[in-house]
């Protein structure tokens, strides 16, 4: 425990967020440890996706949004107005519910980010593409058809590709918002396996409706309800003996 405390990657302090007059996050305090998978669970509208989107400032795009509190990532408060969003979003990448490859080839999808960030040498880009696709276990499958449209890949491959795009720009925090909800059980299993492998090098935060998935894949779990973080702790504790009655009611399906 002692040494884990030294490796906090994200620290959220008294975070409040409003969409106009609606308060979506209420006094959230949490610490996300480096190189672990943290799951955030809770019913629809509980604020879990909003919390995820705070980390790379995706909520900035929403009109009337107001944020108070601090979110320290590697010692920098990412919600400060002067945060360089380009750098932030390179460092903290996001994977969405539906895979969203660009309508380009597989290769172009992977090197798109590095190109924009100015790492343009052909050899270097080839190298990045290979390493990134290897990291998501796509390289062997696709190396002979990198020029084919990414949209022709299976959904699971597309989701892997989206993760590879983040690896290509050297993100070190991966935010996954319901990454398996569009996938069948087998593809889900494959992505979960990939997540477990990725945590050796990355910090992963996954929002999921699938509690079994949270239980299977994560090291720590946070339960949110009506904008509050009700309980946060080791996943095995949350799923065997939650401390809060509301967590218990939600995970056992007695909720509502």
């Amino acid at each position: 425990m002692g040494e884990d405390l030294d490796k906090l990657k994200i620290q959220v302090n008294n975070l409040n967020l409003w969409y106009s007059s609606f308060q979506a996050l209420k006094d959230v305090n949490a610490s996300f440890k480096e190189r672990l998978i943290t799951a955030i669970i809770g019913p629809s509208g509980c604020g879990k996706t909003t919390l995820l989107r705070v980390f790379n400032r995706m909520n900035d795009l929403v009109e009337g949004v107001r944020v108070a509190g601090t979110v320290m990532v590697d010692g920098i408060n990412v919600i400060a107005p002067d945060t360089d969003l380009m750098t932030l979003r390179r460092k903290i990448g996001m994977v969405f519910q539906r895979p969203n490859p660009f309508p380009l080839s597989t290769y172009e999808n992977v090197v798109f980010g590095p190109r924009i960030h100015g790492r343009a040498g052909k050899n270097e880009l080839d190298d990045i593409a290979e390493k990134s696709l290897q990291a998501v276990l796509l390289w062997d499958e696709l190396k002979d058809r990198l020029d084919k449209p990414a949209l022709s890949l299976s959904l699971e491959q597309q989701q892997r590709l989206c993760i590879a795009r983040l690896i290509a720009v050297r993100s070190d925090i991966l935010l996954l918002d319901e990454p398996c909800s569009a996938l069948d059980p087998q593809a889900t299993q494959a992505i979960e396996e990939l997540m477990r492998g990725l945590k050796n090098n990355y910090t992963l935060i996954v929002v999921t409706h699938n509690m079994q998935q949270a239980a299977r894949v994560s090291d720590e779990t946070g339960f949110m309800l009506l904008g509050e973080l009700i309980e946060f702790g080791e996943t095995d504790q949350i799923f065997t003996r939650p401390r809060d009655k509301r967590t218990e009611d939600y995970i056992t399906g007695r909720f509502g």
């Binding site: 509690m211 065997t240 967590t247 218990e248 995970i251 056992t252 399906g253 007695r254």
Partner: protein, 227 residues
């Protein structure tokens, strides 16, 4: 889906209580057969054990089914795991009641021994522990469960006392050694039953508080402690 699981859980609670009732009855009869030197009653306990065995197997299958189909978590998970283990303890208590009945059947064919061994007290305490542990299970009452754990020491002490008394009796009545050894076995079986009742109580504590209290060297905590 959750409603469906809750229905299954209600059924399981009912089923484990039925097993508990049958086992309690079995123990009660075995002790009665011993005290009243009733060979026929003793035989009925022995014959009835097969029913307990069947109930145990059915209960276990039900638990495995619910675990596989519903993948329960938190208190639901703890309840089902506890039932799975308690089921096993109850079946063992049933076997021990049979062992007592076997001794009772033998002793009923022998001349009565006039030694003041206080079996009624030991039997009462043991039966009370079993009943309390089952009440604790039904009501999810860990306070009651802690009482059962504490009562185990008393039964252990009586068992030790029995040992000394029987040892003494053998010296004085060496011709009755066989019967006396049977009586000592009864005491030992009773003590084992109390141990199983304690196991049940410990599982109830786990079920209600999420704390595994087995193998603690210190006294049982009066309340759950969370780290």
């Amino acid at each position: 889906m959750a409603e469906h699981l809750q229905r299954e859980i209600r059924e399981m609670k009912k089923a484990i209580l039925e097993i508990g009732a049958v086992v309690e009855e079995s123990l009660h009869k075995a002790v009665k057969a011993l005290q009243e030197r009733d060979e026929k009653l003793a035989k009925s306990v022995i014959d009835n054990d097969v029913e307990i065995d069947h109930m145990e197997v059915d209960m276990e299958e039900e638990c495995l089914k619910v675990l596989a189909l519903h993948q329960p978590v938190a208190s639901d998970l703890r309840l089902i795991v506890s039932i799975l283990k308690i089921n096993n303890d109850l079946e063992r208590i049933g076997d021990l009641a049979v062992n007592i009945a076997e001794r009772a059947a033998f002793l009923a064919t022998q001349n009565a021994i006039d030694i003041p061994l206080d079996f009624p007290l030991m039997a009462e305490k043991t039966k009370a522990m079993l009943r309390k542990s089952l009440d604790a299970l039904v009501n999810g009452d860990s306070r009651l469960a802690y009482e059962v754990c504490a009562a185990d020491d008393e039964v252990d002490a009586i068992n030790r006392q029995m040992y000394l008394q029987v040892q003494d009796a053998i010296r004085r009545h060496p011709d009755r050694v066989e019967s006396l050894i049977h009586l000592l076995s009864v005491s030992r079986h009773m003590e084992r039953i109390a141990d199983h009742a304690t196991n049940i109580a410990e599982d109830v504590i786990y079920m209600t508080e999420g704390e595994i209290v087995r193998h603690r060297t210190e006294d049982y905590p009066s309340q759950s402690r969370r780290v």
